[in-house]
Structure formats: C-alpha cells, structure tokens
C-alpha cells in the first residue's frame, strides 16, 4: 500500500519546515507562525494515520464481502 508513505510528509514538515520558518516574525491568530506550523503538522500526523487506518480496516472487510458474494453465486 502506497498510502502509508504519506505518513512521512508531516515528519519532513516538522524536521525541515520548522527551521525554514525561523526568524519569520509573521503571526497568525495571534500566535507565532512557527508555532502554528508545529500544531498544523501535528494535526496532519493524526489525520494521515487515521486515513491509513481506515483504508487498512476496509480492505479485509471488502475481501470478505467479495468471498461471500462468490459463495452466494455458486450456491
């Protein structure tokens, strides 16, 4: 499954994105941009893992459903 490689994205964002935002004094919602970035990457980590989890859970169910279908047809 290729989807799981998406989990690397927030890690790269945290590791290398944060240093890029260093010294930028722009603020968003009253918080420094570097802090907003950290929070967004952390939330993205959770969302991406959730996506991967949902996909994983679906696959065995679908296979089972297909199996049942074919069994049903043969009977």
């Amino acid at each position: 499954m290729k989807l799981k490689w998406l989990a690397v994205a927030p890690a790269i964002g945290l590791l290398f994105g944060t240093p890029l935002l260093n010294k930028i004094s722009y603020s968003l919602f009253g918080l420094p941009i570097i802090l907003v970035w950290e929070v967004l990457c952390t939330i993205a980590t959770s969302l991406i893992l959730l996506l991967i989890y949902k996909r994983e859970q679906k696959i065995p169910v679908r296979e089972e459903a297909e199996k049942k279908d074919t069994e049903g047809n043969s009977v």
Binding site: A11, L14, L15, P19, N22, F29, L35, T45
Partner: protein, 499 residues
C-alpha cells in the same frame, strides 16, 4: 500541616486505595502482574502510553526549557508526533510476535527474534542500567515538588523516600493494573490543571496569549528563534531525529504495548496521541510567561520555574492542587518503570538459571525485587547531584542504541543483522553515547572545526551512526565467513541456514 500539604497527602492516600481496588483476584503469574494478562482495553493503554510523555520531567522540564530556550522547546512536539507515526508501523508487529510467543519484555523479544541468549542478557543489563536514571528523575521531580509546596517543611530526602515507597506499593499490590487505574485519574487531572494554568497565567500577566508573544518578541528576540545565541537549527534537527527514534525504545514502552488487548488498540492510540501532545502547548505557555515575570533563574533552578510562577499567581490551595498533579505525574511513570526493571531482572535470572522456574516463584521474585529497586533508586536520587537533564540524557542515550536492532527484528522474516552483529553494534553505540554524555568525548569541538552552523549537534547521532556501521560490518563479515566455510564443504547437506 498547611493546606497544600494536606491536599497532596490526601491525593496520594486516595490513589493507594484506588490501586488496591484495582487488584482483581490477585495476579497468578508474571504475565498477569506485569502486562495485566494482555487484556487492557484501548483507553487504559492510551493513558499508560500518554503517561510516558506527561511525566514530572515534562511538567517541570518543559516549562524550564521554554523559559530558558524559548522556541527550542517546540522540539518536544516534533519528536512526539514523529515517534507516534513510527509507532503506528513498528509496534503492531512486535505486539503480534509477543502475543504469539508469550513474551512481555524487550530482552525476551530480542533474544527470541535473534535466537541468542547473549543478546538477551546484554539487553537485560542495558535495560536495567537505562531504567535507573528514568526512575531517579521521577523521584527527584517528586522530591522537588514536595519541598517547594511544603515551603521546605518536608525535607527533600524524606519526600524522595516516601515517594519511592508509594511507587513500590502500587505495583507490589496490584501490578500494572494498579498503576493503570491511577494513570487514568492522573491524566484527567493533568488535562484540566494544565489547560487552566496555561491559559490563566498568560492572561493574568499580559491580558492574552497573543500579547504575551508580542511582548516576548519585543523584549528578547533571540530566544524566540534558533541561532547561535540560543539552540541552533542543527541542534533542533538532530535532537528531533535521535529522540523520536529513541522514544519507543525505552523498555517500559514494550511492557505497555504488550499489555494491550489487540493491535488495533495500538494503532488507534498512535492516531490519538499526537493530538494529545498538543496539551503540552499550555505547559510551554507557562514557561514563556515566566521569561519576563520571574527573570534570572539559571541552570537547575529553571526546573522550578513552574512552581515559582504558580506561587506568585495563585492562592496556596491551588498550589496544593498543582503539586498533587505533579506528584501523580511522578508516581505513575515511576511505578511502571520500577515494575519493568523488576520483570527484566527476574526474567533475566530465570533465563540464566536455564532451569524451568515456576511462574509462581518468578512472580514472587519480581515482587520482592520491587522494593529493593525502589529503595536503591531513592538512594541514588538523594545522593547524586547532577542536573535532571544530564540524568535523562544518560538513560535516553543508552536505550536509543537499541533502535536498529529492534527495527530489524520488528518486521517479518529473519532479521537483517546476525546476533553477533546486533550485539557488537549495541556495545559500540552504548560506548560512544556514554563517552559523550559523561563528557569524555566532546563532539562540539570537532563540529566547530568543520562548520560553525553544525555546533550543538546531538551526540546521539554519532553514537547511532557508529552503532549501525559496526552492526552492518560484523553481520557482513560473519555471513562471508560462513559462506566461505560452506563453500569449502560442498558435500555437507546444507541449504544455507538463515540464522
């Protein structure tokens, strides 16, 4: 006794009662005792794992770090998020293997996977040595809190010994289950207290969180960015990499995941826990607020910043409440770590004796070991005078060196390293990391000659690289020698045996 002291004592008593209540029918074997019979549901495992982040070290240390290094404190958020995404992929296969083979400690897992008792013994010793500093930190944090909250009426040493006794009580009575019940109470209390003080303190001093940031920016610009005056970018990147790799290698994490009732629980926790770490933001806010409000704390004193601020802002009953939460943050992880150490030693001894030790006597041995370990850690916490950060670095540096060996073992098929390669790599990595954390080698001087922007690179990077190089070369050497000897004996009926 003062009101804050009463609050602390009552809370501690209540948690001991809770731990006794958690005891179902009395554990019958070590598996039941140390990993709750692998029956803990998702929420319990969540609280146990979360307990590993919200220890007293983060409570005191993170505020202190935010206070003295400003923006650099965000590295905690970064490594937690990365470590949890690694855990999603790394831990379920380990859990599956553990369940299949009845394993509940890290050395057992490695010994089984690499089919090597030597590796098992090596990692047992390493685990026990690495766990001592983890325990000492919890005890020291607890001692500091009680000392501060009681206005020095209770001595630091007395507090440490009392704390050690309570930790031992939780786990001797009801094993992991006892700690788990207390962990749930602790985390709910932490959640409320941390969010409350994290918002209240900036608003009290500055009117709002955003004015606080504006005012810090105006006063002290260098603390709110990475650079040579503060922590460098090289420090940030290297520390995040090393810590996120080492985070999951702590032996107590293995104990916690083996207690889970299913692998989906572990995955769901990996999804939730990054969001849960965002709570640390409020801890950071307290540290930031203190920068100009309680100026002048340096070195070890910066760990006290949280309590200094709280004393300034709140009445004494609130101080007691926050102290009680801080103490729970020390007791829960401390008790789990002591239990991990006890089960490492007892399972190590029963492996060594090679005799079939009955599960009943192994359990008894673990339970007897608990007070012994706890008292020795108390002794160390009262006699060793280094800073909390140095102690943490030593323990972390040791456990992190297991990362390559564990990752190679986690995935199906025979692990990439031979057992000799794995052992040599660990020994080399531990040697380098100990030399760096004890100050025998100082890589900073070396980096400074290459380029000043590389200053402050985490020493763990070098140790991990040395570890990997040694492990790979010993493995390759061993394989080549074997293939030569196999080629010399072509008539021997040997399909290449993969170790």
């Amino acid at each position: 006794m003062t009101i804050p002291l009463w609050i602390i004592v009552t809370t501690t008593m209540a948690t001991i009662l809770l731990a006794i209540k958690a005891r179902s029918s009395g554990p019958k074997n070590v598996e039941e005792w140390a990993v709750g019979g692998r029956k803990l549901g998702q929420l319990f495992v969540l609280f146990l794992l979360a307990g590993e982040i919200y220890t007293v070290f983060t409570f005191l240390g993170a505020t202190g770090f935010a206070y003295s290094h400003g923006v650099a404190v965000y590295y905690i958020l970064s490594y937690c998020a990365i470590a949890y995404s690694i855990s999603y992929f790394l831990l379920p296969p380990i859990w599956r293997y553990g369940k299949k083979h009845g394993i509940f400690t890290q050395p057992q897992f490695l010994a089984h996977r690499y089919d090597s008792l030597t590796l098992g013994r090596l990692t047992t010793c390493l685990g026990v040595v690495a766990l001592v500093p983890y325990t000492v930190i919890q005890l020291r944090g607890l001692g500091v809190i009680v000392y501060e909250v009681s206005e020095s009426r209770v001595s630091y040493n007395l507090a440490v010994y009392l704390g050690g006794t309570v930790m031992a009580l939780y786990v001797m009575i009801s094993g992991l289950r006892g700690s788990t019940y207390v962990a749930v109470v602790k985390d709910i209390a932490v959640l409320f207290v941390v969010i409350f003080i994290g918002l209240y303190i900036p608003i009290h001093y500055y009117g709002s969180v955003s004015t606080m940031f504006q005012s810090i920016d105006a006063d002290k610009t260098d603390i709110m960015s990475f650079g040579p005056e503060n922590k460098t970018i090289a420090w940030y990147i290297s520390s995040v990499i090393v810590t996120s790799l080492g985070f999951l290698m702590a032996p107590q994490i293995f104990l916690t995941i083996f207690s889970s009732s299913g692998e989906n629980n572990i995955k769901r926790n990996a999804i939730i826990l990054p969001l849960y770490t965002l709570m640390l933001l409020f801890v950071f806010f307290v540290g930031f607020a203190a920068i100009s409000q309680v100026p002048g704390l340096q070195g070890r004193e910066s760990d006290l910043v949280l309590f200094r601020v709280v004393k300034q802002v709140f009445p004494s009953s609130m101080l007691g409440l926050i102290g009680a939460v801080g103490i729970l943050m020390a007791l829960v992880p401390g008790s789990i770590i002591i239990m991990t150490t006890a089960s490492l030693i007892s399972s190590g001894i029963s492996d060594l004796s090679r005799k079939q030790v009955s599960s009943k006597s192994e359990l008894l041995m673990s339970q007897i070991l608990v007070p012994v370990i706890s008292l020795s850690c108390c002794y160390l916490a009262t006699s060793y005078s280094g800073t909390m950060v140095t102690i943490q670095l030593i323990g972390y540096g040791l456990a992190t060196q297991l990362v390559w060996v564990v990752v190679a073992a986690a995935f199906p098929g025979s692990p990439y390293f031979t057992s000799a390669g794995a052992s040599c790599g660990i020994v080399a990595g531990v040697a380098v990391s100990s030399c760096i954390s004890l100050g025998i080698i100082s890589p900073d001087i070396l980096w400074a000659q290459v380029s000043p922007s590389l200053a402050q690179i985490d020493g763990g990077v070098i140790a991990l690289v040395v570890n990997l190089i040694v492990a790979v070369s010993v493995t390759k050497l061993g394989r080549r020698r074997r293939s030569i000897s196999e080629a010399a004996l072509p008539d021997r009926m040997g399909s290449p045996v993969i170790p």
